[in-house]
Symmetry: C2
Subunit: 305 residues, 2 copies
């Protein structure tokens, strides 16, 4: 399929997830226009045959479909409603595919605000990590009007291995993503606490990992993140501060709904403690370093040491 055969698709936010999705869209033959504040990120897209824009508005001038793959709702606000933002130039009938993890209440309100400008919204958080983004194999947890799904079909096909259609209004996609983040965050904090306990009890961490990952105590996150701890490699695949943010959305949503969430709250405090101790931009498995600071826990050294 040649690029010329399809309408251009805009992507705002070319971090590990956005860049992965952008390149996967290129691989699928789509014409991609990207924006990021990082010149290097834009250059990488250009090198792969994509196009760049110098502002969100410039993306929206060329594309009737714009994906936002930014970090949080503040950035969504800036790129959609700020100066040189999407909404001031996007024509009626345009579509925003919003992929950042945001509060369900924010996603619902965003749907209404965009609708009043004649713009559709697919509430479409993504999951799977940078590698799956690059392969076009993300999980997309999406809700929105049937017409929005139809308009987005080629884009979703190119970026997703699995598309969950969760309802016909914005909010449901973000709600399911929030439950996923609730569990993912707790499971990482629990994995770190469990490894800290095992190490303090004198167990060999490699043996402990082997047994637990074959037992009822296993989780997707335990299996995926504990190897980072065993290698002493805290290169950020996903950073501690992402879970400070996401578990913050979880607990504030609990407050909105008057639903106590004590387990999520305890996990949030662990990520906050890790961030306070200077590990916010390290891999989220660095939440185990809280035990190093507080209790002198001896962690496996980096393999190069």
């Amino acid at each position: 399929m040649s690029s010329e055969s399809t309408a251009p698709v805009g992507i705002i936010g070319l971090g590990s997830m956005g860049m992965g999705a952008a390149l996967a869209l290129k691989d699928a033959g789509l014409d991609v226009v990207g924006f990021d504040i990082s010149v290097e990120a834009r250059q990488r897209l250009l090198d792969y045959g994509g196009r760049e824009a110098k502002s969100p508005a410039e993306v929206a001038r060329q594309c009737s479909i714009v994906m936002t793959v930014v970090v949080n709702s503040r950035q969504v606000e800036t790129v959609l409603f700020g100066p040189n933002g999407v909404v001031e130039v996007m024509p009626q009938g345009g579509l925003v595919i919003q992929c950042a993890t945001v509060a369900p209440s924010y996603a619902r309100a965003l749907g209404e605000r965009l609708a009043s400008a004649g713009i559709g919204l697919l509430d479409a958080p993504i999951s799977g990590g940078a590698a799956k983004a690059r392969q076009g194999q993300l999980s997309v947890m999406a809700s929105g009007k049937e017409s929005c799904f139809q308009q987005a079909a080629a884009v979703l096909d190119a970026m997703a291995g699995k598309i969950y259609r969760l309802g016909d209004a914005p909010g449901a996609g973000s709600s399911v993503k929030l439950v996923n983040q609730h569990l993912a965050g707790i499971h990482i904090a629990a994995a770190a606490e469990a490894m800290a306990l095992g190490i303090r009890m004198g167990l060999d961490p490699e043996v402990l990992y082997e047994v637990i990952s074959n037992s009822a105590g296993n989780s997707w996150m335990f299996e995926n993140r504990v190897p980072h701890i065993l290698k002493g490699d805290y290169t950020p695949y996903s950073a501690v501060d992402i879970f400070v943010k996401d578990l913050g959305i979880v607990t504030s949503t609990g407050c909105e709904l008057t639903l106590p969430l004590p387990v999520a709250s305890s996990a949030l405090q662990q990520f906050m403690a890790a961030s306070a101790a200077g590990h916010g931009r390290e891999d989220d498995s660095a939440v185990i370093k809280v035990y190093q600071h507080l209790a002198g826990l001896k962690l496996p050294p980096a393999e190069s040491e």
Copy 2:
């Protein structure tokens, strides 16, 4: 293999795990002598071709290998050291295979106490549930002397699908089991909290289960226990009060080691709350009922309703 070809093996505690193991040992051709305070349990073993004893001492009079598959360390104390207990009659060279979940410090001290009576100890907590026990497919997390492993070989082969040899002294087996229970307990409390959040946000719980069990938020426990919630079936496969006990051992071990365990502590409080509200003997997934009591959460009804 006929029963007559092997030395008799004693099993004290014929609950779901102990009975499963006893019958699996019978299936493997071993001669099994069982004791439980429940006459019905002893009769079930008799009906299957096993033998019964009327006290722990009577088991130990006939068997040089005795397994304890009881609920907690208090019961271990009673059956080993109480009146008509194992230790007062077991000859030197006997072996105790201790399977209950206990504190590692208790298991270590037990090894020393039994050694001073000339009795070996395999610290051998089990995992896998009643069905795997019955199939002889338990996971055994064991530590103890090489000679104890040799003495126990036929028994371990008959009861276990996987045997983890974790070191040559009691304590390591119970330490690994404790880490498993730390994670298992947190994951059940997290699964309940996550489903409560999803239901309160208006999501369809069946759809939510389908998405999460295929996403990074999944855990062995989420996948295994949430179906009980979806069916409204709180028949106790493993009861809330088991995790009040096991997370109690986790947090008291944290205290012994001066290691803060805030995530496990928050999960323990949820099981304690469920027990306080009258659900201690229901399935551990009934920890979600805390949200029903506090926040009027509407849970899926039982399928028969």
